[in-house]
């Protein structure tokens, strides 16, 4: 079944077209990454899926229902952490679940620990480093009960090791709970390592330039990244992106 | 010496300021007449008439921000007890025209009827004392009257609601009632107690003005007397002059009020403006006896007739 169908989306701001006839879909339980040049419209695409604004034309279907312009259908991690400064980290991470149901504090505390933020449960966002805020925002999206998770560059502010930890953690959660994930990143390796499919968006106006289906079996181990097959994929996607910039 | 005096005189004769006690009304007609008919100019005075606003005429006169003012005997008495150096230099109306008024349908015809009624006042202790004085004459008990503070609410509004009677000046509010066709019952203070027949309003000046510029005071009173004489003789023309000077007043009310008030300026006195020491000491004594004054008033110092024209 299709978790998400994006059908011929077009969106412009102030007469300049940002997205033009973008179409793709995500299967139930699928992990799909989006790659594309900076400013091409990835975040805008998320905003449309999340119902923040309506597309100029085209439709969005989630779980088979037409949800164009409807909010509250996805779990969302924005590109900038967007933590509320008057809430502690614990209060911030439960926000997404608070909106929909009774928040589960013990699960939240557990996740905070997993993300390496123990000791900061009761700190305020201003007391955290950039990467720590990003992890808090990440936890917040994971704690949402929604089955489609849209992550907008979730690990951009993390060092390689913390990033790898987070990636593995994300994969384990994803496998365990069979959620569908739409993932924006600028890191090609990350996209290949995590995804079932990688979608490459072209520059403004953004169209789906190409889709890659990544064949690696799961569970994947980080050693995968050193294999020749992996490097081949990396190179291919790299070349695809190169022509765009 | 001489040239200084002349210069000083020059300056004073050029301009003096008069503060009213309230907004302009027929109590002030003589002043506006003197202004309009040039009586002040004849005396070499250029008079500016000011409204007091919140600033209170007595303090302004005492502090010489204004040279002359309008006040009332009861106020001036209290002011002098507090060592405020103001002096009354002329009674504008010979007898107290105030009293307790109520709409006719309330059926209040004598102070005895106040029992069980609601009086609307402004919360001053003097009110209860006056009520009590009136009611005693009729063997009624002031504690049977409910006294309510009605603040700045006007008479007509107040009696529409919880209030049965209030203290008014007939010459303005009473006349307005006539114009409205609202019939009133009125008990004048003067009908019940001689001691309450005090002067209200009066013209005032400061002690230092009297000491330093007696000629100016003399000149001022000469012009004002002439103005009030005119108002006594020609009420209609006088009313027109006031309306002309203060066009924002209601002309109907001014005319009617003037007609009612003109004969009362002088009434039974030999001359407009004369004050009697008896009146001053009587009322002060009454106040003192009712615990409304902390000390006795030296009545002689409170007023003077010396500036009235021959």
């Amino acid at each position: 079944m299709n978790k998400l169908v994006v059908d011929q989306l077009t969106k412009s701001f102030d007469s300049s077209i940002i997205l033009q006839n973008v179409s793709f879909s995500i299967q139930d339980g699928e992990f799909v990454s989006i790659l594309g040049p900076s400013g091409s419209g990835k975040s805008t695409l998320f905003h449309l899926i999340g119902g923040l604004y309506r597309p100029d034309s085209g439709e969005i279907y989630i779980n088979g229902e037409r949800t164009t312009g409807e909010k509250g259908r996805i779990s969302y991690m924005p590109q900038s952490p967007s933590l509320l400064p008057w809430r502690t980290i614990l209060e911030n991470v439960v926000l997404s679940s608070e909106i929909i149901e009774q928040p589960n504090k013990s699960e939240a505390l557990n996740m905070i620990q997993q993300a390496g933020l123990e000791g900061y449960e009761h700190a305020y966002p201003a007391q955290l480093s950039g990467g720590m805020k990003q992890r808090a925002s990440f936890i917040r999206s994971l704690l949402s009960p929604q089955s489609l998770i849209c992550l907008d560059e979730p690990f951009s502010a993390l060092d390689e090791f913390t990033r790898m930890d987070m990636q593995e953690w994300l994969l384990s959660i994803w496998t365990e709970h069979r959620r569908s994930i739409l993932f924006v990143t600028h890191n090609i390796e990350e996209a290949i390592f995590l995804s079932d499919r990688v979608i490459v968006l072209s520059d403004r106006p953004a169209k789906v330039q190409r889709e890659f289906t990544i064949p690696f079996a799961r569970p994947r181990h980080s050693s995968l990244m050193l294999t020749r097959e992996f490097l081949k994929w990396k190179k291919e996607i790299f070349e695809e992106l190169k022509v765009l910039v | 010496g001489n040239s200084e005096e002349a210069a000083a005189k020059q300056e004073e004769t050029n301009s003096v300021q008069l503060v009213l006690d309230w907004t302009p009304n027929t109590n002030h007609t003589g002043i506006y007449v003197a202004q309009a008919e040039g009586f002040f100019k004849e005396q070499g005075l250029d008079v500016e008439i000011m409204l007091p606003g919140e600033a209170g005429a007595d303090q302004l006169v005492a502090s010489q921000k204004a040279d002359f003012g309008i006040s009332a005997q009861e106020t001036l008495t209290e002011a002098r007890i507090q060592d405020i150096p103001v002096v009354s230099i002329g009674a504008i109306i010979q007898h107290n025209t105030s009293g307790f008024a109520s709409p006719k349908d309330k059926n209040i015809t004598s102070p005895a009827d106040y029992e069980g009624k609601t009086y609307g006042g402004w919360g001053a202790p003097v009110e209860e004392a006056v009520l009590s004085s009136l009611m005693q004459k009729e063997n009624a008990d002031v504690s049977e009257v409910e006294i309510v503070n009605m603040g700045n609410t006007d008479f007509f509004t107040a009696v529409e609601r919880d209030i049965d009677f209030a203290w008014i000046y007939y010459g303005w509010t009473g006349v307005e009632a006539e114009l409205r066709g609202q019939e009133l019952n009125m008990q004048y203070l003067t009908d019940y107690s001689e001691k309450l027949d005090y002067y209200t309003p009066v013209l005032t000046t400061s002690e230092s003005m009297i000491n330093e510029n007696p000629e100016t005071v003399q000149a001022f009173m000469a012009a004002v007397s002439k103005g009030y004489e005119y108002a006594i003789e020609k009420p209609e023309q006088a009313a027109e002059i006031l309306i002309e000077a203060v066009p924002d007043l209601d002309p109907e009310l001014v005319k009617a009020s003037q007609e009612w008030l003109s004969p009362k300026y002088k009434e039974d006195a030999d001359q407009w403006g004369v004050q009697n020491e008896q009146v001053w000491s009587n009322y002060a004594e009454w106040m003192y006896n009712h615990d409304l004054l902390e000390e006795k008033l030296n009545a002689e110092e409170a007023f003077t007739n010396e500036f009235l024209p021959e």
Binding site: - | L51, A55, V254
Partner: protein, 256 residues
Amino acid sequence: MTQRFIRGWRPVAVLLLFILLWELCSRWFDIPEWLLPPPSLILETGISSWADYAPHLFSTIRLTFLGFMIGACFGLLLAVLLHLLPSVREALYPLLILSQNIPIIVLAPLLVIWFGFGALPKLIIIVLVCFFPIAIAAMDGLRQTNPEWMHYMKMSGATKGQIFRKLEWPNALPSIFSGVKISAAYSVMGAVISEWLGANKGIGVYMTLASSSFRTDRVFVAIFLIMGLSLLFFLLINLLEKRMTSWQRKGGGVHE
């Protein structure tokens, strides 16, 4: 454009409705004119006695405008000063509160005695009324700067003055306008009150005279003038605000 036009008319429609209701109530319940005159009578009086109150009106407008300007400038200056000198702020803040609690009845004689009957004491009263909301709102706005921006400015070596001009001031503008709007709403009333200090001209005087001769219709004409004036004033400031914070409607703006 037409949409803006329609939106602009909404409040006008509400006002008209309100006035209509008032007129109807006056007639139905037969409310006496001396208590609450119907709008039609007020309009009539307003038109017929234009010549009577025009000089009063202009005098009040002049006074209001001057007083508000001085008051706003003073409030802003004070806020800036107290913002830049935190130790002075703490010492003077309570005095600001106290300044709003001096009853006119006490201030009036003192002001007249010190400054006479001229424009000065009246201006002082309007300034006293107007400076306060601006000063408080501006101080609060100036304090609430995004710490990230502040850190950037400080590390870039911006002087106190530069931080103020380039960061704190533009950041505080919405708060300041909030204060200015409150002040503007009070300024006309402040002018009217100041006229009770003893003036021979002004809407306040006109109103007192009308009231003392029981001309309720004229009292209401005065009120309408006061209200109209302050509304006009408010709209002007709103316009200025829209111009000066136009960036808020770009991008970051309101999608819906």
